[in-house]
């Protein structure tokens, strides 16, 4: 058996871990055009001069001890399903018996005029983060405009402000992180960022990037003009499905996979930001570009590639704002779409520095927000996953000391005494 993995990030490492649970022998080849296995969520830290080796997610030892051959610095350009080979940009071919596509996501770039000027950056790869950092230094930038107020945009904004650069975030919607978090959460995040010096312009968009060759400013839809030495476009990512398409794999919004993470083409699996993931909160398949989900999907794909039949039971949207001094966590549905959802709130942010919110639908917890005090909120995440009836204790969900004692005794008996902690028992919904 010969395993090949395209991509060298969360999903790839999950896959290696999964394969090696079943098959300790067969060779694995990992292909990536990037030079190391670094952690994407940490790349913004290079702006504040974190040493690059700190970013390493899995070092050489990991690959060596797992008998993985690394083919780095090469792009896979084509998959030939007849001869079962991956073709590299060097025209070399790598044969596979089982293949994992974990090519991640690409930044989405809206059609703004002037977007090809020097000084426009995206922020999803270490190389782009580094070239942005160099550009700042070389040009002694004082003003930067960020397009989009998602997690990546805000993180970059925060670090730039820390460097003393004047940052303006331009967002089409009426608040920051509008898709990811609730209104109160946005208010808190905006306040914390404003305290660092970040400015926000809501309900407006960048319609034109100004400057001759290099960026000198932006023009907004409202007509307003802002001075800027660089623009960071951070309006979201799209699954990177280019390579998959050369294999004729079925692609919707992302690569389509079955319960076992196999694509529509036999022996080709896919995981991570490039696929459509089953969201357990609504049962829909959609791109959910998140680190823990990428790892897990890769893990399940690995098990299946090595012959152990295991279903991927889906994931839920979850996020942690890791750069702010106050932790902001959320999971599941935090903006209930209609009045059939019940919302409980415990807002003590102004006097005690914490905020909790729980969203309930039909006796189940479906989402929560936790700000400030976050210890043990994983218990809530688990309630969402396992769809345990919370009606008996729902008013406890937003208390800081909510714990396992609040759960039904049968749950504790099953989970703590019998200690079922394997994949199936947990991911079951």
């Amino acid at each position: 058996m010969k395993y090949v993995i395209v991509g060298n990030s969360a999903a790839a490492v999950g896959c290696i871990t999964g394969i090696r649970k079943v098959d300790r022998e067969s060779p694995i080849t990992v292909i990536s055009y990037e030079s190391s296995c670094y952690s994407k969520p940490m790349i913004a830290d290079v702006l504040v001069d974190i040493p690059e080796d700190k970013l390493i997610y899995r070092d050489e030892d990991f690959f060596k001890s797992n008998n993985v051959e690394l083919v780095l610095g090469h792009r896979a350009v084509e998959i030939n399903t007849d001869s079962k080979v991956v073709v590299l940009d060097s025209e070399e071919t790598v044969p596979y018996d089982k293949l994992l596509i974990s090519t991640g996501a690409k930044p989405f770039i809206p059609p703004i005029s002037g977007v090809d000027k020097k000084g426009v950056f995206t922020f999803t790869e270490l190389s782009s983060a580094l070239s942005f950092k160099n550009y700042i230094k070389e040009n002694g930038l004082e003003e930067v405009v960020i397009v989009g107020s998602g997690f990546i945009g805000l993180e970059v904004a925060y670090f730039l402000a820390k460097l003393g650069i004047k940052v303006t975030v331009v967002e089409l919607l009426e608040r920051a992180l509008a898709r990811a978090i609730d209104k109160k959460g946005s208010e808190i995040v905006e306040k914390l960022l404003r305290e660092e010096g970040v400015e926000f312009i809501f309900k407006d968009s960048v319609s034109e990037i100004l400057g001759d060759e290099k960026v000198s400013g932006v023009k907004l839809g409202s007509g307003r003009v802002l001075k800027a030495g660089a623009v960071v476009v951070a309006v979201g990512v799209r699954p990177n499905t280019e390579l998959a398409q050369t294999a004729g794999v079925k692609v919707n919004l992302g690569i389509e996979t079955d319960d076992h993470m196999e694509t529509s083409v036999k022996d080709i699996f896919a995981s991570g930001d490039c696929v459509e993931c089953l969201d357990v909160t609504d049962g829909k398949k959609k791109p959910l570009p998140l680190f823990p989900l990428a790892f897990e999907q890769g893990f399940v794909a690995g098990l299946n590639m090595a012959g152990k039949r295991m279903k991927y039971l889906g994931g839920l949207p979850l996020n942690s704002l890791k750069f702010l001094p106050v932790p902001v966590l959320n999971a599941g549905i935090v903006n209930p779409p209609d009045s059939s959802y019940e919302v409980l709130v415990n807002d003590r942010f102004d006097d005690k520095g914490f905020y909790r919110k729980a969203v309930i639908k039909d006796s189940n917890l479906v989402g929560f927000v936790a700000v400030g005090q976050i210890d043990r909120v994983g218990i809530l995440t688990n309630l969402i996953r396992q769809k345990i009836d919370v009606s008996e204790f729902k008013e406890r969900l937003i208390e800081l000391d909510f714990g396992l004692v609040d759960l039904p005794q049968w749950w504790r008996e099953e989970k703590l005494k019998n200690d079922k902690t394997a994949y199936k028992d947990w991911r079951a919904v």
Binding site: S39, P292, L416
Partner: protein
């Protein structure tokens, strides 16, 4: 197939627990620099890795379950969480970048955040690996904690 686990870990016995919190004190102490219970809390500001939960007459001490498929491991962006030979789940506080993903996903609430002004890190039960035998189990006067092979 992969390695068979032969892992010993700490099991809470809810019926025996009287919420005296000796386990918490012992845990904090052995993980402190001073090895002194008072200093550990007051000067080193340490927190216990086991949490005694109380509700009416029910109480129990909860610590890391060293899951077979640990959510915390899956979600750790820095590689700080690693699985040991027998399946022990370790968190390297030096490597941790304080992204709180493990806190967000641990179904038992057993990965805790240590949040400081500057930036923090997470911490969790390490089965007292430097000590050999879990201090919480030793400290429990009521046999409400048992150190035993995984069932």
């Amino acid at each position: 197939m992969g390695n068979k686990r032969k892992l010993k870990k700490v099991y809470p016995i809810e019926e025996n627990c009287i919420s005296c919190r000796y386990c918490e004190v012992a845990c904090t102490m052995v993980h402190s620099k001073s090895k002194d219970p008072l200093k550990a809390y007051k000067l080193e500001n340490l927190l216990p890795r086991a949490t005694v939960e109380v509700k009416g007459a029910v109480s129990l001490s909860v610590m890391c379950r060293h899951c077979k498929h640990p959510f915390c491991f899956d979600s750790c962006i820095s590689g700080a969480i690693q699985v040991g030979e027998k399946g022990q789940v370790y968190l390297d506080e030096e490597k941790c970048v304080g992204c709180w993903n493990c806190v967000l996903v641990c179904p038992f609430g057993a990965a805790h955040p240590y949040i400081t002004e500057e930036k923090g890190h997470s911490f969790k039960c390490d089965l007292c690996k430097d000590r050999g035998f879990p201090a919480c189990v030793e400290a429990c006067p009521n046999r409400a904690l048992v150190y035993d092979f995984e069932r």
